[in-house]
């Protein structure tokens, strides 16, 4: 159980919206005031896979500090709207504006809960891609609801999204984080890795992936070979792998962005602070400017969608 309270700002109003970022493992409930500012939050290991026998009402009651019915409208995003969740909120298709999400909210009548749908797109080869939860973070990360911008959510399955005038127009997923974890825990390369945090090894990996004509499944093997020849210390193996993988993602995503748009604006990075800094460094090496987006982007996104849906004024 992880709980984090915030002191109500002097003069903060009552709760106007309860917004829940409800994922696979954890759920985080935010209380927002009439200006959309966060008054309080509570996080529990009550993600969709952790709730036994679909006891979602009981889980919600815990998230609401036992206050059922709630004193304000409730909105949620993430895996709670998947087939394994409380009520399925079917994917909406790209491009999707705030009002599309607002119009496609799935309703859970017994809890007065509205769930944000996920997002689906297809690439030029007809291959589908999906997200669920990230669409809300992306919409929450926008500085303003106008213009073309790119939002990146690094993670287990990183998401790169293009946003036009507050509509997610296209996106692409990369399995970077999951591949890194697998290589660390289950490959011959992970067994070579000693503890260490080496910025130089990370940048070396990034730079190799950025070179023309490289292939990731070949380059990953170089972690072993460089360790064998003594050109890479065991303490650098993990960061070198991280650099190769994030570098490969940066190259592919840069090409993907350039097929779609000119890149006049900095990319907005949203997510865990250390990981965002790592992406920022890799993107800088690739010549792509980036900035760190606002915190609590899921809560911000739900606030915006709730306003478009008329749940709050």
């Amino acid at each position: 159980v992880v709980a984090r309270g915030r002191d109500a700002a002097p003069g903060a109003g009552a709760t106007a919206l309860i917004a829940i970022d409800w994922g696979t493992t954890a759920a985080r409930a935010y209380r927002l005031d009439a200006q959309g500012a966060i008054i309080a939050e509570r996080s529990e290991l009550l993600g969709v896979q952790k709730v036994e026998a679909r006891r979602f009402p009981a889980a919600l009651s815990v998230l609401l500090d036992g206050a059922m019915p709630a004193e304000a409208p409730i909105i949620a995003c993430g895996m709670i709207g998947s087939r394994q969740g409380w009520v399925e909120a079917p994917y909406v298709e790209c491009p999707a504006r705030f009002d599309v999400f607002a119009g496609a909210l799935a309703r859970v009548p017994e809890a007065a809960l509205a769930i944000v749908p996920g997002l689906i797109c297809r690439d030029a080869d007809g291959v589908p891609d999906v997200m669920r939860g990230e669409e809300t973070q992306i919409l929450g990360a926008l500085e303003e609801e106008a213009g073309r911008q790119c939002v990146v959510l690094p993670g287990t399955h990183s998401k790169w999204a293009l946003v036009d005038d507050a509509a997610v127009s296209d996106f692409a997923s990369f399995m970077t984080g999951e591949l890194y974890a697998m290589l660390r825990e289950h490959s011959i390369l992970g067994r070579l890795a000693g503890a260490g945090d080496e910025a130089v090894a990370f940048e070396r990996g990034v730079r190799l992936s950025l070179r023309a004509g490289r292939a990731l499944t070949h380059d990953l093997f170089s972690a072993r070979t460089l360790a064998l020849t003594g050109e890479l210390a065991p303490t650098g193996v993990a960061d070198y792998l991280s650099g190769l993988l994030i570098g490969a993602e940066a190259v592919a995503a840069r090409d993907w962005i350039e097929r779609h748009a000119s890149r006049d604006r900095a990319i907005t990075l949203v997510g865990e602070a250390m990981l965002c800094q790592r992406y920022r460094r890799a993107l800088a090496i690739a010549g792509v400017p980036s900035r760190i987006g606002p915190p609590d982007s899921a809560a911000r996104g739900m606030w915006r969608i709730a306003r478009h849906a008329g749940l709050v004024k």
Copy 2:
């Protein structure tokens, strides 16, 4: 313990050479006659990692059916020559001809054993690559010791090698097999996979990887998305992943070959029969002709190196 005897051909001579393919997990000893034909073989789970406390003389005695000293010269290749093996046979540099291997054999005096060295090369970016054991299979797979050809050894760490007049001139490793095993056993994608063998799903994966501008870490995620939208049956997920990975290897390796040489000749595939057929299909889709190389390529390679070294006539 796996043992496989062969009936001596009528008129087959005495053992002229004992050749041992001595790897990490298993060791296979071949008895060859004066023409280099295999008279008998014996395989045991006595690989370098299986031999406790470096009891290599005892392991060798088992492989020789208890006959120590042996009645013929002994040569071995593979991890037995690594730092963790009996005696280290340092890597020789590309390009390396038969006579280079013959001149760089490491000797184990107490067993009259000669060990073939591994091979190291560097690419245009200065990144090293290594093999140990595969160099012998490559030399054994050659139909004749002249001309330019490409030999491919699919596997955990696939090897692509260019051979010029019986010299391995360059090579590249791809972690295809290890990535496939990890994805099957430890990823979200593996959990989606049902039992099945679907040639259509395999070819679909190959074709996607072959399309211009694709990125593997993105495309792997499509196994999940296609399964989610019902466009890929659970029984096809594993073969689709296999197709994506082998397709990505084929694209990268084809580019690598084209940077080095024209490809007038068919590629020779060496290794496990089912896997070679899978590569053959992927290469055919990529427009690259290939053929299946001879069996027992390690024994053939050791015979050739032994002749160059004067161990046999």
